[in-house]
């Protein structure tokens, strides 16, 4: 490889031009063989065309979904101020999220084409319809709460939004795992949990920033800790189970983001848990949780791009699979 290569040593090029070599009786590889042959080190897959809007949209969507749940919870425990704020935050976040989604389209003016069909095979289509239900519901609930109009309808809308919120938070994980990108598709068992945890943690963090009172504070603390624990736990399991495929999480931009995400999330959860009644500390912990969640989304996103770019990540596991099958 002389040009266009991103890896200067490019051992794969030499491999590509090596004659066929079969090792009869060799053990089937459990991990991708190191000597994967490629076509001039070029990616097999197309690197996803999505930009930074997409992880930001995941984050905003997560915040919105979590906030809808927080609002409903606060309503139940009687912290109406938090319920109002969280509901408003949910609306704002879902607005931002939708805007980001549309902005990332190649033809944004055609965003409504999404509503032409409903396809269960397309997580994006499913998500579109979920958002189409969730957005108006959480919006209606917020309007009702802020204006005091139509309280019955507002409560129903709030309930509906809360019911749809987990779907909003987790469909985005399926959106990523339902691709050919190795680092995403390989994470299909854990990513929904990571996203759910991240959504909850970030919403709890936001609630802490927005201000808690004694009725809701314990619940929010529990939510933050649980969300962070699920997020961190799921990510940890994912990295272990991905094995070689987790390499993108350990290099480049993704590694820095992963490290930051873990640090922010853990620190945020701990801060919030130990903040007690100190508002400022709690708010700091909340902000850390938000940052952790944001970093997490970007980390996963960039790891996927890197794995799509690396032909070994595509070919290696497939080779291993073939080898295992032929035994």
């Amino acid at each position: 490889m002389t040009m266009g290569s991103r890896t200067p040593q490019a051992p794969a090029t030499r491999d590509a031009t090596r004659p066929i070599e079969r090792r009869p009786g060799a053990e089937p590889a459990v991990v991708p063989p190191a000597d994967v042959r490629t076509y001039y080190d070029r990616p097999v897959l197309k690197v996803p065309v999505w930009g930074s809007y997409i992880p930001a949209y995941f984050f905003a969507g997560g915040v919105s979904a979590g906030s809808a749940l927080v609002a409903a919870g606060a309503q139940v425990v009687g912290d109406h101020a938090l319920a109002r704020r969280a509901q408003a935050a949910s609306v704002a976040a879902i607005g931002v999220s939708s805007a980001l989604l549309v902005a990332d389209l190649g033809r944004p003016e055609r965003f409504h084409h999404m509503l032409r069909v409903a396809k269960v095979t397309s997580p994006m289509s499913v998500g579109t319809w979920v958002l189409a239900g969730f957005g108006p519901a959480t919006g209606l609930a917020a309007v009702s709460q802020l204006t005091g109009l139509l309280p019955r309808l507002g409560r129903m809308a709030q309930g509906a939004a809360a019911a749809l919120a987990p779907a909003v938070a987790t469909y985005t994980a399926v959106l990523l795992t339902d691709t050919a990108v190795p680092a995403w598709h390989g994470a299909r068992r854990e990513l929904p949990f990571a996203f759910a945890g991240s959504a909850v943690a970030s919403a709890a963090g936001l609630a802490a920033v927005l201000g808690l009172d004694a009725r809701s504070a314990p619940a929010i603390r529990r939510l933050a800790v649980a969300g962070a624990a699920v997020e961190l736990g799921a990510t940890q399991v994912m990295e272990q189970r991905l094995g070689e495929l987790a390499a993108p999480y350990r290099t480049g931009a993704a590694r820095r983001l992963v490290t930051a995400a873990k640090a922010f999330t853990a620190a945020g959860a701990a801060t919030l848990a130990l903040a007690g009644g100190r508002r400022r500390t709690a708010a700091t912990g909340g902000a850390l949780l938000l940052a952790g969640s944001l970093c997490e989304r970007f980390a996963i996103f960039h790891a996927g791009l890197a794995s799509a770019r690396d032909p070994r990540a595509t070919i290696g596991p497939q080779r291993a699979r073939l080898a295992a099958r032929s035994v």
């Binding site: 097999v44 919870g73 190649g106 055609r110 339902d178 598709h185």
Partner: protein, 1141 residues
């Protein structure tokens, strides 16, 4: 197609003649052995059975070695050789061979550096003193005829046993005795066993039952021994009995699309149309002198008077009368060398003041182009007609001399006229290709702006000159004023009608009707014909060259496709395909035979013989012209009717090919003390210095300078690569491909390597040598290549100055909707070949069905995907089978795809990965040709003959045209949230560009990395399998354009069966690595609509080894997400409610 063995030498046929190469690939598929002997490892080598690199310029030694091999082992086809060649002819006693005279034949005149051929004659034949002297005059060196010469008839003294010591056969034996395999190894650098392999393959595939063909192109002609290279091949083919027989012969591949046409109706200074010689001043004062001097008394050249008079009648019509010698006096005369090289020197000397350049680019293409540019700077005027402003037109402000300051624009007084020319698609006319086939091309569009056809230019130039001269009484203006110059014109630009010109070239009789054969031409002025060999191209008032009856609608000779000169004969001298008694040599090689019952010759082709001449015809004594040839004399253009192993007359450099070193070779000639061809022309001037030869006297220190290559390059050649790219616009380095093992007897000597010390490394890894950044290739593409040192071992790949000027951007038409009907307008469905492609669905336009829920999740249903999608009665599923073993990497598919589908060009990036310049499939690359270069060792098989590699080449080159797989379970389609991607009735997968909103999901979902979003457009694009063409009953553009059978289109079920057979066939041939990819319905995508036959693991071609559609796991993913969602809900509830407890 009919050959059993094809020897390709001095040619990169796969890359430079891909359309003709389809027949080589077809022959190969039918079991023919393909051998490529060439210094470079090219794509031709990649698909040949054997690649044998030899040192450039050593071809005669190699071919002479084969001749010696044939003679030593008695492998000649004696039943053919004795009656059909001059092997038994006894030569003058005074003849001396180069073996006797250390490299010279008898008759050498050291003063004038010419031969007197008197001693070369057949014994007992009187030589007419003046006969054919034009050929023997120094400086008029066109060696094109055996028609001059002696009085004709069979040689008087003939030994049918071929044992007389002075018979041609014995002279041949003696002449080539020293061309042993060992000598071949020493001179050519070809290991003897590999040489024997080639010789044996040729011998084993020749004889009554089998035939071999030889193919060459400019790698042979552009040498100081060019004619003799071809002569050597002719000797081999005559000895093996391969001339005039199906699958035999010698194929000359020309350097340009219609250069055969421009020698038939010549642009050469010493020829008139139909290979009539240009008359010479002083010698040819009258028509009678001219005809007497050059016509043969026997054979078809015996009618030279009729050909000449008809030509004069075509030129001057009514004005040409017997009284004025048919205006013979009007013809220009030559009095010496008027070739381009002499013309350039004359320009330098001020003797030539004006210069027309058309379809040529000497500022980069000519030998010593620097001198050419300097010469042009001394002209008064220069006219350049070309498609774009080529370097020749721009030399006065953009050239290396201007850059270096040697010339300054302000000092150049030359007035340059650049006239834009129409392309072949913008005018009617013919191409005459390498097998003498005239093919008409129709004007597709009007030329843009000021672009005009050549015909327009000359016609109106002539018209205006004649108008200016009208009324002149000066005798010297008569030739112009008397010309017939009355072609009908049409259109706004008054373009002359090309068909009218062709009709004049064809000729007419007194009744004004088009003639049908050159045998109708008369010497009494009753016929006119612009070129006697083209007579018949307009027979029956029909433009015969415009016939395009498809191959499957006629027999294998395909006489109704175009028109071949002479008289539409497809195989010349085809009388030789039958034995002397008129019977086919064998049933397998039956072509032409004597049908006693009908009293005529029969066969699919038109006999290249008098149809009713009996095989046992013996000419009476007074017969002349063709009647003087016997019934078993197949070579009817020869005065003695036989093939000449030995040329007693007509060649300036001797009767037999002899190895000499090239003019600037650093090696000494191992065979004689005559270093280089003694009669070669040189132009010794200070401005045109030659390089030192071995022991020579040149002045330059470096072994080779590109400017002095005796080559006249073809910088105009275009169209073989996408977007008229290489070679004209190719980066300098891409012609530098090297090949190890061609090292001659000496390895590269460090002294010659100069600063290119990496060269030996390149010898080890030839596959990388051509890259522009390889140090050996000199500076990058932005500058002309360094014209300095090269390894002596391999002078085959010399850096050449190529055209650097950018081509203007092509205006792009408005893109049409791929799913729409726009494309159909160009090719209405009625023109579609019968039997290809599915029938258009009945009952109007089907509406794409909305995918039913879950239909694609249940794989392995026997129905086609279209049926599963909801079409009621869809046509059979169609697809591509890409057989990569037949791919020659021509990229015709890429180009055809872009042309048809209006896919934007993406620029020509030189990626450094072989000849690949697109890298991968993408939004604007719907076909992608991958080039894989691998070290490759294959143990030679026991007979050393059947191995695909030969264990020495050490490299193999895999080529493969990739495309969208149109999966049974298509990830892109399933994840598409807008329904823009849909399943067609043909079970293909297509994007609707008016629906797509560019969400990009399909890009991430494709396991093959096919579909992509187009920058600046925002929508996703990929192969549509030419949906519009399928709807019109046509096959996709790429399959249509593929010159070989590499891309096959059809019903998927048929293709899978065929592919399985093909794999079995390849396995039987020992190519055990052949395997199918994408044909298995059990694979991760349910089988591909486009599948492949590969010779290595898929990932080597850039394909995923085990792709799985991502939605296979979707149910599980939804479940996981549901669990996560529930967990989230439950957790939240617990957090709040638990807190209240």
């Amino acid at each position: 197609v009919n050959s059993d063995c094809i020897l390709i030498m001095g040619s990169n046929m796969a890359e430079c003649h891909p359309v003709g190469f389809q027949w080589v690939m077809e022959a190969k598929a039918d079991g023919a052995k393909v051998i490529h002997v060439d210094p470079r490892f090219t794509r031709t080598s990649a698909v040949a059975h054997h690649h044998v690199p030899l040192r450039a310029g050593s071809d005669i030694a190699f071919l002479g070695g084969i001749i010696n091999y044939i003679l030593e082992h008695g492998r000649e086809f004696r039943d053919y050789v004795v009656p059909y060649t001059n092997a038994g002819a006894i030569i003058e006693e005074s003849f001396r061979d180069t073996e006797d005279l250390d490299g010279l034949f008898s008759g050498w005149d050291p003063e004038r550096r010419v031969y007197d051929p008197a001693s070369w004659q057949y014994e007992g034949v009187a030589v007419a003193a003046a006969a054919g002297q034009r050929e023997m005059t120094p400086g008029i060196g066109q060696e094109y005829g055996s028609h001059g010469g002696f009085s004709g008839g069979r040689p008087p003294n003939f030994d049918p046993m071929l044992e007389h010591p002075r018979c041609v056969f014995q002279i041949l034996k003696k002449h080539y005795r020293r061309y042993t395999p060992e000598m071949v190894e020493e001179i050519c650098g070809v290991p003897r066993e590999r040489f024997v392999q080639v010789a044996e393959a040729l011998c084993a595939n020749s004889g009554p039952e089998r035939t071999s063909a030889v193919v060459y192109s400019v790698g042979w002609t552009q040498h100081s021994v060019g004619a003799q290279n071809i002569r050597a091949a002719a000797i081999i083919q005559l000895l093996l009995g391969n001339m005039g027989r199906p699958g035999g012969g010698i194929l000359a591949l020309r350097g340009h699309a219609s250069i055969q046409g421009s020698t038939d109706i010549p642009t050469l200074y010493d020829l008139l149309p139909g290979y009539l010689p240009m008359p010479q001043a002083h010698r040819h004062t009258s028509l009678a002198d001219y005809v007497e001097a050059d016509s043969g008394r026997t054979g078809f050249w015996g009618h030279m008077d009729a050909y000449t008079v008809s030509l004069l009648k075509a030129y001057w019509g009514e004005a040409a009368t017997p009284e004025n010698d048919f205006c013979f006096g009007y013809l220009p005369r030559i009095n010496g060398d008027h070739s381009i090289y002499q013309a350039v020197l004359s320009m330098l000397d001020g003797a030539v003041q004006g210069f027309f350049v058309m379809g040529e680019n000497p500022a980069v293409g000519s030998a010593n182009s620097g001198l050419h540019r300097r010469a042009m700077a001394k002209l008064d005027w220069l006219v350049v007609r070309d498609l774009v402003e080529v370097e020749t037109a721009a030399f006065w402000y953009d050239s290396p001399e201007i850059e270096s300051g040697e010339l300054r624009t302000t000092d150049i007084a030359t007035e340059v006229f650049f006239l834009p020319a129409a392309a072949h698609t913008e005018k009617d006319g013919t191409f005459t290709q390498t097998q003498r086939l005239l093919q008409w091309h129709h004007k597709a569009v009007e030329p843009k702006g000021d672009c005009r056809s050549e015909l327009w230019f000359y016609y109106h130039l002539g018209r205006i000159i004649r108008e200016k001269l009208a009324g002149s009484t000066d005798d010297r203006d008569r030739p112009l004023l008397d010309l017939t110059w009355d072609y009908p014109t049409s259109g706004e630009t008054a373009d002359p009608e090309a068909a009218a010109v062709l009709r004049e070239v064809n000729g007419w009789g007194t009744d004004g009707r088009a003639l049908s054969s050159y045998t109708e031409l008369a010497a009494d002025g009753s016929t006119a014909s612009g070129c006697w060999i083209y007579c018949g191209s307009y027979a029956g008032e029909v433009n015969q060259t415009a016939r395009r009856t498809p191959r499957r609608e006629q027999d294998s000779v395909a006489p109704a496709w175009g028109w071949a000169w002479p008289a539409n004969r497809r195989l010349l001298y085809n009388r030789a395909s039958a034995d002397p008694a008129g019977r086919p040599w064998s049933e397998r090689k039956r072509y032409l035979w004597w049908e006693e019952a009908d009293g005529r010759w029969r066969g699919a082709d038109i006999p290249d013989f008098q149809v009713t001449k009996r095989p046992d015809y013996i000419p009476p004594g007074e017969a002349r012209a063709e009647d003087a040839l016997r019934g078993d004399d197949p070579f009817i253009m020869q005065t003695d009717g036989v093939g000449w192993l030995y040329v007693p007359f007509g060649l300036v450099d001797g009767p037999l090919p002899t190895h000499y070193e090239p003019h600037e070779s650093p090696f000494t000639n191992r065979l004689s003390s005559v270093q280089a061809n003694p009669v070669r022309q040189t132009y010794r001037r200070l401005e045109n210095r030659y390089n030192p030869t071995a022991g020579g006297t040149g002045r330059l220190r470096l072994p080779v300078r590109d400017d002095h290559l005796p080559a006249h390059g073809a910088p105009h050649r275009r169209g073989h690569e996408p977007f008229r790219g290489p070679p004209r616009r190719a980066a300098a380095g891409d012609v530098l491909r090297g090949e190890p093992g061609a090292g001659g007897r000496a390895g590269p000597h460090p002294r010659w390597l100069g600063h290119h010390r990496v060269l030996p490394d390149r010898h080890r890894s030839p596959g990388r040598g051509h890259r522009p950044d390889a140090a050996a290739a000199g500076p990058g593409p932005a500058r002309p290549p360094d014209r300095t040192a090269l390894p002596l071992g391999q002078p085959g790949h010399l850096p050449r100055r190529r055209g650097q000027r950018p081509l203007p951007p092509r205006p792009r038409p408005q893109r049409s909707h791929p799913g729409g009907q726009g494309g159909d307008l160009r090719h209405p469905p009625g023109t579609a070949p019968a039997g290809t492609g599915p029938a258009p669905p009945g009952g109007g336009v089907p509406t794409p069905g909305r995918p039913r829920r879950g239909d694609t999740m249940s794989a392995h249903v026997a129905l086609d995907p279209a049926a599963r999608t909801g079409y009621d009665t869809p046509p059979d599923r169609v697809g591509f089978f890409t057989d990569t073993t037949l791919c020659i990497g021509c990229k015709a598919c890429e180009v055809a795809c872009k042309e048809w589908n209006n896919v934007p060009g993406t620029g020509l990036h030189f990626l450094g990965s072989s000849y690949d310049n697109t890298g991968q499939l993408g939004a604007s690359t719907w076909r992608h040709v991958a080039f894989v270069e691998q070290p490759w060792e294959l143990p030679p098989s026991p007979d050393g003959n059947e191995a695909q590699g030969d264990g020495r080449t050490g490299v193999r080159w895999l080529m493969s045209s990739d495309v969208c797989k149109h999966c049974t379970e298509a990830g892109c389609l399933e994840v598409c949230p807008t329904g823009a991607l849909f399943r067609t009735e043909f079970s293909t997968v297509v994007v609707q560009p008016d629906i797509c909103n560019g969400c990009g999901y399909c890009v991430s979902a494709c396991p093959f990395g096919v579909i992509d979003r187009r920058e600046g457009d925002g929508r996703a694009w990929k192969c549509t399998m030419c949906y519009d063409r399928l709807r019109g009953g046509m096959e996709p553009a790429c399959a249509k354009a593929c010159p070989t059978q590499s891309i096959q289109f059809g019903r998927l079920a048929d293709l899978r069966l065929h592919a399985a057979e093909r794999v079995e066939q390849l396995h039987a041939e020992g190519i055990t690595e052949a395997r199918l990819y994408g044909a298995d319905e059990e694979d991760g995508v349910g089988g591909c609509g486009a599948f492949f036959l590969l010779l290595d693991d898929p990932e080597v071609y850039g394909l995923p080894p085990d792709p799985v559609v991502t939605t296979r796991d979707l149910p599980q993913m939804w479940k996981t997400a549901a669990v996560a969602a529930l967990t989230m809900a439950a957790g939240t509830v617990a957090a709040f409610v638990g807190g209240r407890r």
